[in-house]
């Protein structure tokens, strides 16, 4: 096998970092090494492959009703995709509820295309129509790349959901007594060598809420926000959160409102 030039350079870089003697400087160079590796990977994010699929799926006639999603209202009017991602979750009059991107896609796939949202919610990540969600969330978030988060809080239900999200964020439970705040409630902390954004505030452009959906190199998988939240709850030792369930939407409102003004880099690249 001949390595790609990029892979070869990465291997050399990592080898150089690991060869240094263990000192405080070693911590810096390991973290710096990882940051450099990520910068090199940033070009050629496999998320682009999912974006292409997603655009296709938005425009393709599918489902029992053989219709496309081009009339789907993501909050800025039917078919308006640009800018929609950075205003979600938000209240929708036609369903009388606050919905995040994936919940709203379920609504559109049901109403426009005739799919069964319960069946899609029950489908495991990485299979069946969940693959459709991977593509759609990648493309729809890409259409807001570089835009700043600006979730509406004008509707009483939007404000109520923010409050519920805050309480969910600080909800301690399970055998480890963890809440979201256990890891994401203070600045400048990390688990092992993984930096943790403080999600009670705006952690900055392209960080935290502003960095999902993302392609995870370690598993070669495209993770939507719902999948990210699912694995958070797993690591918290909580029971299993329903796909696009109320708690996931509430947390999205809390994090999204806190991230107001942060630039979205989704779909991003993660280790």
């Amino acid at each position: 096998m001949r390595s790609t030039p990029t892979a070869q350079a990465v291997l050399t870089l990592l080898a150089a970092c690991m060869a240094a003697a263990p000192t405080v400087a070693q911590q810096k160079s390991a973290a710096d090494g990882i940051a450099e590796y990520r910068a090199m990977l940033a070009d050629g994010n496999p998320a682009e492959l999912f974006e292409a699929k997603g655009e296709d799926l938005w425009k393709k006639k599918r489902g029992p009703k053989n219709a496309s999603l081009e009339q789907c209202d993501l909050g800025k009017g039917p078919g308006v995709v640009k800018g929609a991602f950075v205003e979600l979750p938000r209240y929708f009059a036609d369903t009388s509820r606050v919905q995040d991107l994936e919940s709203r896609l379920l609504t559109c796939m049901e109403r426009l295309q005739g799919f069964d949202p319960v069946a899609i919610s029950k489908t495991a990540f990485g299979q069946g129509e969940q693959l459709t969600m991977e593509g759609l969330t990648a493309w729809i978030s890409a259409e807001s790349r570089g835009l700043k988060f600006n979730l509406p809080q004008a509707h009483a239900d939007e404000r109520k959901t923010f409050e519920l999200g805050k309480r969910a964020f600080f909800y301690r439970g399970g055998p480890y007594d963890f809440s979201c705040a256990s890891c994401h409630g203070q600045p400048d902390k990390r688990i092992r060598l993984q930096d943790l954004p403080d999600l009670t505030k705006n952690p900055g452009n392209g960080i935290g809420f502003a960095a999902w959906p993302a392609y995870r190199v370690s598993s070669g998988e495209m993770w939507s926000m719902q999948r990210r939240l699912n694995d958070c709850f797993r690591q918290q030792r909580f029971p299993y959160p329903g796909y696009a369930s109320d708690v996931t939407i509430a947390l999205g409102v809390y994090m999204g409102v806190n991230a107001k003004g942060a630039e979205s880099i989704a779909p991003a690249l993660k280790r």
Binding site: L164, D177, L193
Partner: protein
């Protein structure tokens, strides 16, 4: 004529503001009930992770309410005292196990998730490096908890079995068993109290940070 009209308009405007204000107020949502509904409605059982894990004891309920701050002093004290009472010292009076096993346990981040097959202590790791620096050699450590490097050395433990070391030995055991004995809203899991690790595993962790021969104390 104009003056009266202005007055009338001003009064009407004031009345509108008052009515709009009242409408915006409305009854304040009962968040306690709404949160309970949201949590029970949003989760399901999966593997060993059952929805009863959402039930909160006094400590978790109070610390959740505090939203990152501290509960009222009386509440915090009650939590700490109850936690202290819950601690079970080792039956054979021996606290220090094998630091080599302790290091393996500290490195192990598995256990208690819905992808873990068993909830038995034998299946669980200590997860320690996720939050703590421990040995010098391990650079992949977290910073959620304080560094434990040189833990025993810094506390003057030269002989773990000596009477002078007893207070720190018991403090450390208590902290591992139920960290909330000393801090009502501690971020550290209650390894003994919650049945996450058994006595032998805890003794091995004790050895890792308190045994003078452990690399932690070199």
């Amino acid at each position: 004529m104009t003056h009266k009209k202005t007055l009338f308009l001003a009064a009407a405007a004031a009345a509108t503001v008052l009515i709009a204000g009242c409408a915006a107020m409305g009854p304040k949502p009962d968040y306690d009930t709404l949160v309970a509904q949201m949590m029970t409605g949003s989760f399901r059982d999966e593997g060993i992770a059952k929805v009863d894990r959402l039930q909160q004891d006094a400590s978790n309920a109070a610390c959740s309410q505090a939203q990152g701050g501290s509960p009222p002093e009386a509440v915090a004290n009650a939590i700490q005292q109850a936690a202290l009472k819950s601690v079970r010292m080792p039956a054979d009076g021996k606290f220090i196990g094998d630091w080599r096993e302790g290091e393996k346990l500290a490195q192990n981040g598995r256990g208690m998730t819905w992808t873990d097959k068993s909830a038995a202590p034998a299946a669980n790791g200590g997860n320690c490096y996720n939050c703590h620096q421990i040995t010098k050699a391990e650079i992949s450590y977290g910073t959620i908890g304080p560094s434990l490097y040189q833990y025993g050395k810094n506390r003057g433990v030269t002989d773990a079995d000596s009477p002078t070391a007893k207070p720190i030995i018991e403090y450390t055991w208590t902290k591992l068993w139920n960290a909330k004995a000393y801090n009502a809203c501690s971020g550290m899991p209650r390894f003994g109290h919650a049945g996450l690790l058994d006595e032998k595993q805890l003794k091995d962790l004790m050895a890792l940070i308190l045994d003078p021969k452990s690399p932690v104390n070199q």
